[in-house]
């Protein structure tokens, strides 16, 4: 009986059981030794790795965006401020039912397709787990209140606050072109910008002063070390290294003058640039129409944007620094001075102006602006002084052809034509000062003597911006001392961008008397009146009466379409956008100028009649309070 064996031998069974238990216990001890080895590995040998990993888990370093530096006008009026905005962000990991949440949010604050697309796009970017992703920016007070009420029912929804640029409502579009604006930092920007310094910054200077002084306005990024839990909620701030706000800067701009210049232009397309000729400081820079730069921060619908972009009036286009036009007769003072400097003429020499000019051995007839088919016109006997105040084309056709392009172009270049003289307006266009080398290189044509004739009255290929023409006005006001236009007056701390450019060379070859006589001639443009038909300054009838100060000026009209031989310029027949541009340059007081400006009215017509009154209004606005104070 097999079964009885065990009963018969309990001792043996017991001994074999004991041996087994001893063996199993040994195995258990060995297995526990394996566990202990693993624990020693984790807690002793690799302790530092895991300690680091644990700290990385809980400690997040968050960059803190610096508040952008403020921008003031010369009187301390705030032109660019910062404001707090609230935006809606989602923590994807905490949202259980995305569809239901989106439906609810849509009811509460309204989400459009663009916002949803933007969210999906941002969601795909690299991010930490539980990092909030922006869904809708700039919530209204009412929207914030509605979200706050529903908050506990909206897991994963967060309201994020942020400090952004704000242009004061009453001056936003007035200063848009002068101060510039900021725009959102894009992916491409991040490749170019310092990734550390811009790690929390969402806007950067897009144009104007905001762009040029970006580095100073931006400030220094700060950091905070926070302890977060696994759900990304901040439990405590461990350490904070606050950001350093950007530097505040004060501009030469004069808030009141800017308003006056804009008012003087009325609703017309055009530009006014006013400089302090002593420093080159830009007192006013208006480009009409303007736009509301806040739109680029708060965002706008695609419709609004394309309307801004495609408007015939080009509101986004800064005419003051990027609009390039023929200067027309405003160029004549330079040609006249070139004639004196080269010795081709003097202040007493005179010619007979019959209303037309012909180059020797050429058929082409160059006509004066006063030429009509019925009455050949002409200014009669003209010297340089009369040629300026009567704006004789024939005189300057003749003078320019005698000077020749080889001498005229270098002389004109001293006034900053064909280059951007500005100290801190980097995006300003440089215009065009044509010469034979340029024409051969770009147009592939030789320079004809006729080109020089056209240049004599500021037509042809010559192009200037209002800023350049204001600079020329300042140079005339300064009797030949050239100044760089500049926006920055001062700042509360040293600016990184402040590495001043060398002062330009003054205009060479002219005596102080020559300059005074030219200024006198320009004063005659405005003040010479009551002398009878054909004897008054071209602008006197429009602006010359009732002036309490001496003003020097010069009008100009720039052709937009070519008037063919033998045809008359008829404003009524041409469409609005084909009419001539009206120019006026001026400075005052003539003997000790404190302001020099250039006015452009696009398709405005006559320089004296249209742009002249604008110039007068701006000068009045600047000088009359000063005169009254004395």
């Amino acid at each position: 009986m097999a079964r009885s064996i065990s009963f018969n031998d309990p001792l043996r069974e017991r001994r074999s059981f004991g041996a087994r238990v001893a063996l199993l216990f040994t195995i258990a001890v060995l297995l526990i030794a394996v566990l202990v080895t693993r624990l020693v590995q984790l807690q002793v040998w690799e302790f530092e790795t895991y300690q680091t990993r644990s700290d990385e888990n809980r400690i997040q370093v968050q960059p803190l965006a610096p508040p952008r530096g403020l921008i003031y006008d010369r009187n301390g009026v705030l032109l660019a401020d910062n404001t707090t905005i609230y935006s809606l962000a989602l923590v994807r990991e905490r949202v259980d039912d995305m569809e239901a949440l989106l439906a609810r949010l849509n009811q509460l604050v309204g989400l459009d397709a663009e916002e949803l697309e933007g969210y999906e796009r941002r969601l795909k970017r690299r991010r930490r787990p539980f990092e909030p992703v922006t869904m809708k920016e700039i919530l209204s007070e009412a929207e914030i209140a509605r979200l706050a009420v529903e908050r506990h029912r909206l897991p994963g929804v967060e309201i994020v606050t942020e400090l952004v640029r704000r242009y004061p409502a009453n001056s936003a579009s007035l200063f848009a072109h002068a101060v510039g604006s900021v725009r959102r930092v894009t992916e491409e920007d991040l490749q170019r910008l310092d990734p550390v310094s811009y790690s929390a910054t969402r806007y950067l200077g897009r144009r104007g002063v905001e762009r040029f002084y970006e580095n100073s306005l931006h400030g220094q990024v700060g950091y905070q070390q926070v302890e977060t839990d696994a759900h990304g909620r901040i439990r405590q701030v461990l350490e904070i290294n606050p950001p350093v706000s950007g530097k505040d800067i004060t501009l030469h701009l004069d808030h009141r003058l800017q308003i006056a210049a804009s008012a003087a232009l009325g609703g017309r397309r055009g530009a006014v640039v006013a400089l302090d000729p002593r420093s080159g400081g830009v007192l006013a820079m208006v480009s009409n129409p303007g736009y509301d730069p806040n739109l680029f921060i708060s965002g706008m619908t695609g419709e609004t944007y394309s309307a801004l972009l495609n408007s015939r009036d080009k509101p986004l286009f800064n005419r003051a620094i990027n609009g390039q036009y023929a200067p027309g007769s405003t160029f004549k003072p330079i040609v006249g001075l070139a004639g004196i400097a080269t010795g081709e003429t003097n202040w007493s020499e005179h010619i007979e102006d019959r209303g037309w000019f012909k180059l020797p051995n050429q058929e082409r007839i160059y006509r004066d602006w006063s030429w009509t088919a019925r009455n050949s016109g002409g200014q009669g006997v003209v010297n340089l002084n009369r040629a300026i105040y009567r704006s004789s084309n024939v005189y300057f056709y003749d003078l320019a052809s005698r000077i020749g392009i080889a001498r005229l172009a270098p002389f004109a270049a001293q006034f900053g034509l064909g280059q951007n003289l500005a100290e801190d307006i980097s995006l300003a266009s440089s215009g065009l000062l044509p010469d034979p080398i340029w024409k051969q290189g770009v147009k592939g044509q030789v320079w004809y003597p006729g080109d020089t004739v056209n240049l004599g009255i500021g037509q042809g290929d010559l192009l200037v911006t209002p800023l350049q023409l204001a600079t020329i006005s300042a140079t005339l006001a300064n009797r030949g001392r050239v100044v760089r236009p500049r926006m920055l007056l001062e700042s509360n701390r040293a600016l990184v961008e402040l590495d001043p450019l060398p002062a330009p060379e003054p205009v060479q070859g002219l005596s102080p008397e020559d300059w005074e006589l030219m200024v006198d001639s320009m004063e005659d443009v405005v003040h010479r009146g009551n002398k009878g038909y054909g004897q008054n300054g071209t602008a006197w009838a429009y602006i010359g009466r009732g002036i309490d100060y001496r003003m020097a000026g010069k009008s100009g009209t720039a052709q937009v379409v070519e008037i063919r031989q033998g045809e008359e310029y008829d404003e009524e027949e041409l469409g609005e956008f084909n009419r001539k541009h009206a120019w006026f340059i001026a400075f005052a007081p003539a003997d000790n100028p404190v302001i020099a400006l250039a006015v452009l009215v696009e398709n405005g017509g006559g320089g004296s009649s249209v742009a002249g009154p604008v110039a007068r209004e701006v000068l009045d606005a600047y000088l009359l309070p000063q005169l009254a104070a004395k």
Binding site: A28, L35, L42, Q43, E227
Partner: protein, 376 residues
Amino acid sequence: MSSQDFVRTLPSAGSGSAGATLLRVHLDPLFLCVLIAIVCYGLVVLFSAVNRDMDVFGNQLIRMGIAFIALFAAAQLQPSFYLRWAPFVYIGGVVLLVLVLLIGVEVKGSQRWLDIPGLPRFQPSELMKIAVPMMVAWYFHDRPLPPRFKDVCAALLIIAIPAACIIRQPDLGTGILVAGAGVAVLVLAGLYWRWILYAGLSLAVAAPGLWYTLQDYQRQRILTLFDPQSDPLGAGWNIIQSTTAIGSGGVWGKGLFQGTQSHLEFLPESQTDFIIAVVGEELGLVGILGLLALYLIVIARGLMIAVQAQSTFGRLLAGALTLTFFVYVFVNIGMVSGLLPVVGVPLPLVSYGGTSAITLMAGFGIIMSVRTHRSR
């Protein structure tokens, strides 16, 4: 290690009146003291793991009280009582398991609970952790040992029926533990080593086939073990966070209540299956070694009682229950420290939860019963 070591740690056990009193109520003094030490240690750690939540802590305190009552009650019954009732308990348990599959309550995708009106909700699979080794020990108590081949086959059948039911729930972890408890009896009964070797070899051969019988999530857990970084926010999250918690504790730990991994909620299941990571993080290597030492004393004491038991049934049962306890400890710490795949095994007497503690304590009560009820 000899039995003398343990006697020395508790000088009063042999001669003191307190020890004698305990023995009179069928409690082993050393065993009881160590169990109380583990439970107290566990309560302290749990108190930290639940962020000093008095409600949760109070719950656990009550459950532990019930568990000790279960221990006391189980110790009062004679081993012969268990021998007599083993087949009925086993059959009853299997019936309940079948009921679970038919009308069980589903929680988190698996059907483990039985909700019979008038009774608290419970898991019959817990009962089987005791019933299966008891039944196998019953089967061998009057059969020749080492077991013959046909007896081994019969025992395997006894093990396989409930284990299969539990795995079907699905609850692979408990199924394997229940099967393991039964197999422990077989091994203790003197199963030939070469048979164990054959079984091991055939398992190794069958492993690729078994792979395909696993659920997707189970495969994922095994793969994750080898490369947790492949899915750090998903399947790998638990194991990355638990090893980080343990490793960052270092030798001395971050201090009680100071664990960042657990308190900042990086560590999942920090109150239940992963609580050893809290021990490791807050009390360091020293803290875990202390707990392991306590566990080792329990195991040594349990095995010693088995060796000294008078009957085959008592020997097998006490030995198997002790080994099962060891397996719990090893599997739990192994899985949390990243040595084993994640299976749902709580850390005995420490993890939050009542059912497992009550079963374990009842098991220890049976071991004490084997120790204290001696025929003269």
